[in-house]
């Protein structure tokens, strides 16, 4: 019973680790930064509405750049 529960908890933890972190930890960090920035800028008006998508786009491009294969690789 305890062993089965432990196995289920490990599987549950493994699923969320894979889902949230996996092989792209930079996207998890990016998400935390975007959430933090949203709270920091929530009184900044239109600036927040422009900065949030721009920052998200920058994180996406940086992550894709990191994932590219080297020429000849």
């Amino acid at each position: 019973m305890t062993a089965a529960l432990g196995k289920a908890l490990r599987a549950f933890g493994h699923f969320w680790w894979d889902f949230l972190i996996g092989d792209t930890p930079e996207l998890a960090v990016a998400t935390l930064v975007i959430v933090g920035l949203a709270y920091a800028l929530h009184r900044a008006g239109v600036a927040a509405a422009i900065l949030l998508p721009l920052l998200t786009a920058a994180f996406l491009l940086a992550s894709a750049w990191r994932g590219r294969r080297a020429p000849g690789g």
């Binding site: 975007i34 786009a57 996406l60 894709a64 690789g73």
Partner: protein, 251 residues
């Protein structure tokens, strides 16, 4: 809630459910062909029931008991992680840095491993049941997350669940009619479109939950979809210029 954001919700959930069910169908067909249809279909059906229960068990309490702003930030963050991951893969695939998803190859691999796994049992086959259940459950889990996230944040859980179910039934129906994996479905294109919509909703809900004022309110969502479409196309074009040389190109 504007019609445009509801339409994007329906498109995102339908696309995500369809594309994940195409992947699940490949595994179910492989299990059915190599081990027997009865157990494979029972495994798939059992997984669908469990996934449906998950939507109710997780989604309904979220809507009822979590303050809406906190819920939107958490849901937005989940959508961002999921959407950015899908978009990253889509950009790498479109620019030649990652192999496209190939249902035929996955089908051949699964059939090969199931045939190595021993002879087909008479009557019910536990291996076929387990493989089909696992395939549908694992592919469906992301759909459940998308249904619960989008449905809860817009208080449209029923609509989101119904849309996902319609997509799953359509894919399963086509699969039954043709009795094979659906390798002609443009999975990479659909995943790119869904990734763009998930990322757009993610940024919108994180901002909305944190108190950011979006010009035009919900009308900002289609604008975000346009922005991330441009970013995805631009990033793919940029990375294509950095594509690794293939053996054919080198000669």
């Amino acid at each position: 809630m504007h019609t445009s954001s509801t339409l994007i919700l329906v498109l995102a959930v339908f696309g995500a459910s369809a594309v994940e069910m195409v992947e699940a169908l490949t595994i179910v067909v492989a299990a059915g062909v190599s081990r027997g249809w009865r157990s494979a279909l029972e495994g798939a059906a059992a997984a669908v029931v469990v996934l449906g229960l998950l939507v109710g068990v997780v989604g309904v309490p979220l809507i009822r008991y979590i303050p809406i702003d906190a819920l939107r930030v958490v849901v937005g963050a989940l959508l961002l992680v999921l959407g950015l991951g899908w978009l990253r893969k889509a950009i790498l695939r479109a620019s030649g840095h990652k192999a496209p998803h190939d249902e035929d190859a996955i089908y051949a691999d699964t059939v090969g491993s199931l045939q190595v796994d021993g002879p087909r049992a008479s009557g019910r086959d536990g291996v076929a049941f387990a493989v089909a259940f696992k395939g549908v459950f694992l592919e469906g889990t992301e759909v459940v997350l998308i249904v619960v996230s989008l449905g809860a944040s817009q208080h449209r859980l029923g609509l989101a669940a119904l849309t996902a179910a319609v997509a799953a039934v359509l894919v399963a129906g086509v699969g039954v009619i043709v009795s094979r994996q659906l390798s002609e479905v443009p999975e990479n294109t659909i995943k790119t479109a869904v990734g763009i919509m998930l990322t757009s909703f993610g940024v919108f809900w994180v901002g909305e939950g944190a108190g950011v004022h979006w010009p035009g309110s919900d009308l900002a969502i289609p604008v975000l979809v346009g922005v991330f479409t441009a970013v995805t196309l631009g990033s793919s074009a940029l990375l294509r210029t950095r594509r690794p040389f293939t053996a054919a190109e080198a000669t």
